[in-house]
Symmetry: D2
Subunit: 190 residues, 4 copies
């Protein structure tokens, strides 16, 4: 019996703010990155985004940067449980420099991420994508502005609202309570 990613994710340790699979999958939808993509991700958080990307880019490689030692340890253990071999965790602040280059995708989910946008541009392949996750709208403004300054193309920003529905005995409606908002995803292409 094969394993689905979601069953694996359900058993992993979580830190408070995580990127949900719904938002992670939007990155595939909006960029269409190839499955041998070379990807850099920062900060790792619980590692959910790196794991999702590594899962669906099995012939690629994900390097995830996490500056806090204790978080980096959580991520390493989470990755171990998935069995994925194509993720590397670096206990390093990405603001101190991106070691990799010729990247197909860079994903950022961190404070001050706008400080790394111009370097991200340098380290991407032509046609490569930068995807930034922002929980607050003020960050969206800065990210879009800085992507423009760094010459990114096809800049676009999305907010995703996913409503669950229920249907029983011929009575169908959206569930009353639910997640009204997760965050914004902003994309730019080199």
């Amino acid at each position: 019996m094969k394993r689905n990613l979601n069953e694996i994710l359900d058993r992993l340790k979580r830190v408070p703010q995580i990127i949900m699979p719904e938002d992670a999958s939007m990155i595939l939808a909006k960029t269409g990155v190839p499955t041998d993509a070379k990807i850099v991700d920062a900060g790792s958080g619980s590692g959910f985004l790196s794991i999702f990307l590594a899962w669906y880019c099995p012939n690629g490689k994900v390097v995830t940067y996490e500056k806090r030692m204790e978080f980096a340890e959580v991520v390493k253990k989470n990755i171990e449980k998935t069995g994925l071999k194509n993720i590397e965790v670096k206990n390093k602040n990405i603001l101190d420099g991106i070691d990799e280059d010729k990247l197909d995708l860079i994903t950022l989910d961190m404070k001050d991420c706008e400080k790394v946008i111009s370097e991200a541009y340098e380290k991407l392949n032509q046609g490569g994508w930068l995807a930034v996750y922002s929980p607050y709208v003020e960050q969206v403004e800065k990210v879009i502005e800085d992507m423009r300054k760094s010459n990114f193309n096809e800049i676009k920003c999305f907010e995703n609202i996913s409503r669950e529905w229920q249907s029983e005995y011929g009575f169908t409606r959206p569930k009353s309570q639910g997640l009204m908002h997760t965050g914004w995803l902003t994309f730019g292409k080199k």
Copy 2:
């Protein structure tokens, strides 16, 4: 230079009602199918969903059923342009029987799809997922009811609203006009 799926999709022929990458990616988010998944899809439409799934399941195989000869031809040509080798098009009505078994995922986007739900259950692996796309809410009611009758577990239904935002010179807001609705995605697990 590597190619992104989205650039390829932009150049393909489209029939009126297509599953957008945003909805296709939700299937990955909600099921987490493995990249060596054995997948059956019906009806093919323009082939966008099969192509998306085959792209992100490069070690798996997608068989897509399309009963209308002329549509099956469009799909074949679209697949050819993608270079993907792991999709097979069958010019056959899936209501006449699913030839494959031990499947990890079955996706249905067609009228009368509820007639194939109980057979879908038989042809899935334990832990495999059925995902049904429905443009109308009456179909959602039938699909959920028939998934229950066929003993599917973890039945859940989602509607996705994706809003694009714009930001210029410090003025940020959602775009006024946009796609208010695509369809519903209903999931059931064996």
Copy 3:
């Protein structure tokens, strides 16, 4: 010091399913009924909708039908606390007949409300509006179909999603949790 309606509503007794002021106010937005409107409402529920309409139609009159004696008593007490003199509570099932005629607005929030739609048409003034609140989508289908059969014009149906936002110290975003759905409002004009 004048009193605002919301402070009054906060102190009233509530039954489980109530029409919120947001949905009640949509009835004013979509119909624009005059403030001397003659209105019939059924069933009363907690009386919130009748109270809202009577408040903003101070020169009009609202008659509200409630078949359950104990609910009718709750509504009477709620109305008393508002001080409004232009609402009459009838402890009667509206399916047994609408006593009033030459109405400017009829609002229905009850099971089987489709059974009263053709009579509603008879009892409305030319240019008068019927507004139906439905918690389930199957009711919406029936209501729209029956409004068509009864020759209503300008039939339109809306769902309202109201998101609350928070902003502190320059961090702005929608509140994560909230009411994803209340119900549908369907309108028809004579």
Copy 4:
């Protein structure tokens, strides 16, 4: 035959950015202002908001400020067509001072509206409400911050998404295209 407000509004002259009845009615829903409310509104725009408020507060009075002479003339003509006698148009910039006091409601829909928030507080009755309409999220941030500084209570901000639905021959779904966003409404109470 009585006239509905919506039929009247449909025949009025419009300037580009207008507050729709849906947003105007939210002001009634969220504040519950009495129908003898004393209201100040700025800037007038096409006068739609003043007209809506004057319509549903027939025993009250609305004073609307519009600094641009040519717009003030449009508003005057629009009001004339409605037959409403309880609106006064002032061709004056509200930033030069609010002449009225003991107000129950002040509504602002204008650039730089944050400059009038502290004076608005002074001119409101205890229990009176300020409602600010903002098309851009940066304005929301400033408005909430300045309402806090001016000691407003019960500060709350909402965004309203109204989706139209269609149903024909048993096929029901939201209309695909529609208004994804109008603006934000921020409320504060004295």
